[in-house]
């Protein structure tokens, strides 16, 4: 996946442009020869207006354009933020354009460390670093296309390599922010759920280890000492990382470096990047504190069973500290029922239904250590504090656990068999 996140403001803040102007492409003022253009395209949906306003306040596209100024491209190239209708960021070869979706900004904010949540990653580095890292990834696709670069390996891995390699060319602070931001995105977000081996992308964890390996094999592995000292990169892989880094470096020198203005590159490398002003820090903190842990949950029965009754154990929005067991929800045959909006990153559920003359139950096996035994009332409606010490009339059943995809705000459990 490609992601968009809130953009951090950079110290080289440019003049503010009106929020409501029609999309028009701007040039970075410091390099008239650059063919890189950018634009913040107003969204159609009202709900993305705040995101649209926020990304402009951080001026990422302005700064990225300037960062790309040493690149001598054969034609004009543009970067836009835009409402896409899906969560992604992509390079469009037909338009020579990188598109950062507002949907992705929100998704990245949701998955970034929450306020008060213990994490070795900060909200800022995940959002800022993750955004810049993904933009550099899309830039990787862009240069592969525009410069007709020969790629023998998988292009998604090549784009990751370009992102990490370029990040390592910055000063230490920026290199750390981007590499660590990428690392979090790969491991926590892209690494969520079962791996899809058929996909053209590597799994989240593969991408995580790939990027750590290049960082480890580069000229400054000490920048990420805390990760390597923890053993995040297995020794067997680490042993070959210098070779892997040299492979990437050699490929860069042969296929991209000839298109870079060395003098301009030195000027760009000498600047400070990704420094937040106090106002931008405050804006980030505001987003970190925004409610992000709720999700709407629905259940659909598109299976042969009938008369399905559904129970769940969740944390209510109005009482997020306590787990409660709720039932029964009647799920229509060949239909869906909107259960409600809840809090948290996981739910537990249990269901019963009829198949012909038989009663069918969906409960967790006793061997499932992630499951939760809870008291319910077998026939009456109930809303009970989570407990496996049942009162008269109640029975214990084993609820199944379901981890909520942190990037999603609407979830549906489908019964199809």
């Amino acid at each position: 996946m490609r992601s968009i996140a809130r953009v951090a403001t950079l110290t080289l803040a440019l003049g503010w442009t009106a929020l409501w102007c029609q999309p028009s492409f701007a040039q970075p003022p410091s390099d008239q020869a650059s063919k890189t253009q950018f634009s913040y395209i107003p969204p159609k949906s009202l709900k993305y207006l705040p995101v649209f306003n926020r990304v402009q306040q951080f001026k990422l596209l302005e700064q990225l354009s300037e960062f790309l100024s040493p690149l001598r491209l054969p034609h004009k190239f543009s970067m836009v933020t835009i409402e896409c209708g899906f969560v992604n960021a992509q390079y469009q070869p037909s338009k020579w354009r990188i598109e950062l979706c507002y949907e992705y900004v929100e998704a990245l904010e949701r998955v970034a460390p929450k306020l008060g949540q213990p994490s070795e990653f900060s909200f800022e580095e995940v959002v800022v670093g993750g955004l810049v890292g993904v933009l550099l990834h899309e830039l990787g696709h862009a240069v592969i296309d525009m410069l007709t670069i020969p790629v023998f390996g998988r292009e998604e891995d090549a784009a990751d390599e370009i992102s990490t390699f370029l990040a390592l060319q910055f000063n230490p602070e920026v290199a750390r922010t981007i590499v660590r931001g990428n690392a979090y995105v790969y491991k926590v977000w892209y690494g969520f759920g079962a791996p899809a081996f058929f996909d053209e992308h590597g799994t989240g964890l593969q991408r995580y280890y790939n990027s750590l390996c290049i960082a480890h094999g580069g000229e400054r592995p000490d920048l990420f000492k805390e990760l390597f000292d923890k053993g995040e990169l297995p020794k067997e892989r680490a042993a070959g990382c210098q070779r892997e880094y040299q492979q990437v470096r050699s490929a860069f020198e042969k296929t991209i470096l000839p298109f870079i203005d060395r003098e301009q590159m030195k000027r760009v490398q000498g600047k400070e990047w990704l420094k937040l002003t106090p106002q931008q820090v405050a804006l980030l903190k505001e987003q970190q504190q925004a409610p992000r842990e709720t999700f709407t949950f629905a259940v659909c029965n598109q299976s042969p069973v009938t008369r399905m009754s559904f129970a769940l154990m969740v944390r209510l929005v109005e009482d997020p500290q306590r787990w409660q067991a709720l039932g029964w929800y009647s799920i229509p045959d060949n239909g869906c029922e909107l259960i409600g909006t809840f809090h948290g990153d996981r739910i537990f559920w249990y269901a019963e239904a009829t198949r012909g003359k038989d009663r069918v139950v969906w409960s967790a096996p006793d061997t499932d250590q992630t499951a939760s035994k809870q008291c319910i009332h077998p026939s009456n409606a109930f809303q009970l504090p989570a407990s496996n010490r049942c009162q008269s009339g109640q029975v214990v059943v084993n609820f199944r656990r379901w981890e909520v995809d942190p990037t999603l705000s609407n979830l549906t459990l489908n019964f199809t068999k």
Binding site: I144, T148, I149, P150, V151, F152, G153, R154, E155, D157, A158, E161, I162, P195, F197, F198, D199, E200, G202, T203, L205, Q206, Y208, Y209, N210, C213, L233, P234, E236, R237, G240, E244, Q247, V248, S250, A251, K254, T255
Partner: protein
Amino acid sequence: MSVSVKSAVVLASIYLAAHATAAIAQPPPAGQSSPPAAQSSQIEVAYVQPGNRNFQPIYDRVKNRKVLEELQQFLAPLRLPRKLTVKIDQCGALSRPYRPQEPVTICYELIDQIEKVAAKGDPKMRQTMIAGAFIQVVVYQVAHAMFDILQVPVWGRAGDAADRLAALVMLQFGEDLALRTIRGSTAFFLASKKTWTGSAFADADSPEEQRYYNYLCIAFGGAPISFDFLVSGNEPVLPLPRARRCYWEYQQVRMAFNLRIMPFVDPDLLVKIRSADWLLPGDVR
């Protein structure tokens, strides 16, 4: 088209013939040319006597059939800046990763493993799996050597790069061979797949199942009619979201090959190699 692939295909066909219950040498039909006698002077070959006596039968088979000498013939059009040694050896592991300035090594252990896995599977697929997997290993290892010797810039993971080049090459020998080698090699990947979790994903080699889809994608992208069975039915073998991009994946590897490897191929000798009929039924040397 890479000559290294042809050599590997012949290599496998000879190896396959060695396992057949009856193999009868037959002259090529009239009107078809035999492979040219010229061998690559830049490719040196060696069959290393295994210390493990269990591998002796494999050693005897491959040596008697001169599989590496055939490889030399097929690599003849390659103009390498230095010599390359290809050997079959006991490795102490299933594979010995290629390293610059070192020989390409095919391990007896892997040949043994291929045979064992194939023996457990569908008997009808046994020969195909042995041939396909063997070809894949040879071409894959030679691909790594080519990247090094020809100083090819490699973007993406090196193992995936060698896989994609190997798959490209496998498609250059006509439909029948493409189907057999791709089917055989991918069947071996699938039969060998393990469960991957957590830090296992740190491995520089890609999961077997991922390699399986990579090969299928290049195959479908390069020969969509021959491999249309991969995308048919309600649950296609190659999921459609990936299949839709396979044409582009194939073209990308093909372009990379034409740009960075073809300049080192003697085009006239290549035509002679390509015009020869290397894989006649029952052609055993």
